[in-house]
Amino acid sequence: MTREERLQQALEGIAARQIPETTNLWPRLAARIEERKSLMQNLRARPALALFILLLALALLTGAAYAVGKSLGYLPGVGIIDQSAPIRVLAEPVSMTREGITVTVKQAALTADQTVVVYTVENVPWEARPHTENVHGCFATPFLRLPDGSELELIEGGGEMGGARFVYPAIPPQVNEATFFLPCIEETLPGKSPVNWQLPLHFVPAPPDLTVVPVIEIQPTATAETDQPMVVTETPTIGATSPITLTHAMQIGDQYVLLGSLTQPSSDGWIQLTAANQITDASGKEIFASSPTLAGLPSYDWGFQFNAAGVTFPITLTFTGEEVSTDLSLAGPPQTWTLQWSPQNPPEAAALYGISLHLDRFIPVEDGYYLIGHTDWTDERIAGVTEYGTMQAFDANGNEVPVEKAKFAEAVTLVENLEANQWVYHLRSKTFSRPLTLRLSLFNVEFKQPVRFSLDLRSYGFTFAEEQVGMAWKTGLIPLEVPGLGATLFRVTYVREEEKHGFEFTLEADPRLQSLALDFEDGVTGETGPRVGTSHHDLQSGLLLVTVLTDGQLSMPLSIVAYGADVTGQWETQWAPPSP
């Protein structure tokens, strides 16, 4: 045995004797993580305490503001903020470029209880990144320094390599300057990128036209144990032994966000949620829900976000899980827990883009009616709306009545100069309970301002080489300006199909964004055939996948554009025809 091997063995022996295999940090660790929850539970158990205290604690612990009388808002890109006191924002984005790398503080929001900073990092050269398994680059969290020299340490936050969102303590109202200190560019190798970045930030009062989506906290606390909801009366129905607790329900714009905790058993082991959790509404319809994508939410063990449009309350959340023992073996059979929830006053969700259906006239025919109508919209960012032939009709009892889109040749005989937003359907029945509900669920919308972004993977060593086909590249988070719908590009994959090549774009997107017609705007030469593309919202992952292929030569930077999108929802109008 060499001396080095003996040294290795000795170190292992020393460590093993002092730190036994039975070392278990989890109970203490779990207790510390549970501190937030237990604080809330204590407050729940003492309803005499002012709700203010509970909500202040939440605000302090989570970085989000929750308080009675506070006006909460969701600032896109920043997260949930308290608007009851004046908000300050960054006077303008601040950029610094060193050795070709650009760090930009894009957004900041200063409220009475926190400071949120959003920054991006661009053009990090390929050679600055570690490319070997087990080799990692720098990891250091940025901090804020105030003019008096005091430093604000990070409370929470994070992001991808291309940027992040960080939450710091509040900056005093009289202080309008701070320096953003970034010790190093995350995930870069030592000596390969500049260190100690300092970006001077200047804050100004938020302009009156700052876009803030209202947030309505419907149910800040309610669990099976307390049965004493503090703000509103709705209480989840829950099994006595269920580990599932709903802790927060919020309405943000036309989205609902439900957050909850998972109570672990006191015995050794833990509950592991196994199957995909399911949400159905009162009509039995499955609701597509994604993981919460909004920044600045309170901490949670499980969470869902879904569009309120067309949902019939109460909804039922179904969880499946198993108890796992500490040796990682399963300790019990799979169990299912359900939880029902309904807001007290389900608000009327605003129709996306203000889209509405109007039945203009009807023509009785032998087997039913021709229905002639049009679609309107109020959103000024939209240039046109076209329906896709998805109309369904339901009578007063909820029974579906057969209806089909009239053939174009048929429609033009009924409507002179048929416009893109007009529609003609053939209802194939005259005997149904009135009134009739006509529902459309899919529209193509055309944007007045196309969505554009630039893609440049050269700094990652991308060369369109054959061996790079199938490789995925993390782009950092690139928010796309899709009107009214959140969509963030985070991954592109170089793909090839026969003689065509191009990219698959992967986006986290609002579930209502069914497809986004991305196309190359610039950076393509020598094209001989048509471009092809696909786009769909993957129901399993909740991700939006868009592919664009060309037989031409592609070069970076590529300009990508989308002129329109397909959106889903439920748009309805009612009609009570005269009795036959």
Binding site: L7, F139, E156, G158, G159, W302
Partner: protein
């Protein structure tokens, strides 16, 4: 459930994911921290903090990369920092007794225990940073290149630290043997 699934769970906010990671890595992490801090209690605190950091910062972690090196890097960093801050000394008196209770032959036990004591004493005379490179090289079995990336110092500096630590260890061990 594998590590990647645990991380995905944790990224979704499911604390069960963290528990799996804790059970997988806690012993190795605490032993690593202990060899650097020389204090079992402090080592546990260091690792607990490192797991809390994981809990808070998991969103920044690229799930396609292995978790262990990323995590142990933060443990080593934190342990070096903690060791630099504290002057706590610990006793290894009980180690010999524990060794004697093992199944090895008495001669082997004495030899092993004696060598471990020498290593331990020698380690104590190294700086926390030197201890970190020795622990990474000989306990975590990392290459110099990996250590360079994890310690965020140039490969030449790692080589220098490791060489100086090795030289010092050898000298100390030789001295012990001679004495």
């Amino acid at each position: 459930m594998d590590e990647e699934q645990a991380i995905q769970r944790l990224k979704r906010g499911d604390i069960g994911g963290l528990e799996i990671l804790v059970h997988h890595y806690q012993v190795k992490a605490v032993r690593t921290a202990y060899l650097i801090t020389r204090d079992a209690e402090l080592a546990e605190d260091v690792v607990q903090e490192a797991f809390l950091k994981v809990y808070r910062a998991i969103r920044t972690f690229d799930a396609s990369r292995p978790f262990e090196p990323w995590f142990l890097r933060s443990v080593v960093h934190a342990a070096v920092k903690a060791a630099q801050k504290t002057a706590r000394q610990t006793s290894q008196g009980s180690e010999l007794e524990e060794l004697l209770a093992s199944d090895e032959s008495v001669e082997a036990q004495v030899e092993t225990a004696e060598f471990q004591r020498q290593v331990w004493d020698a380690m104590q005379s190294l700086s926390p940073r030197q201890r970190a490179v020795v622990v990474q090289r000989y306990f975590l079995d990392m290459s110099e290149r990996e250590m360079s990336a994890k310690l965020e110092i140039a490969p030449g500096t790692v080589k220098w630290l490791l060489n100086s630590a090795r030289t010092r260890l050898r000298a100390l061990l030789r001295k012990e043997v001679e004495e």
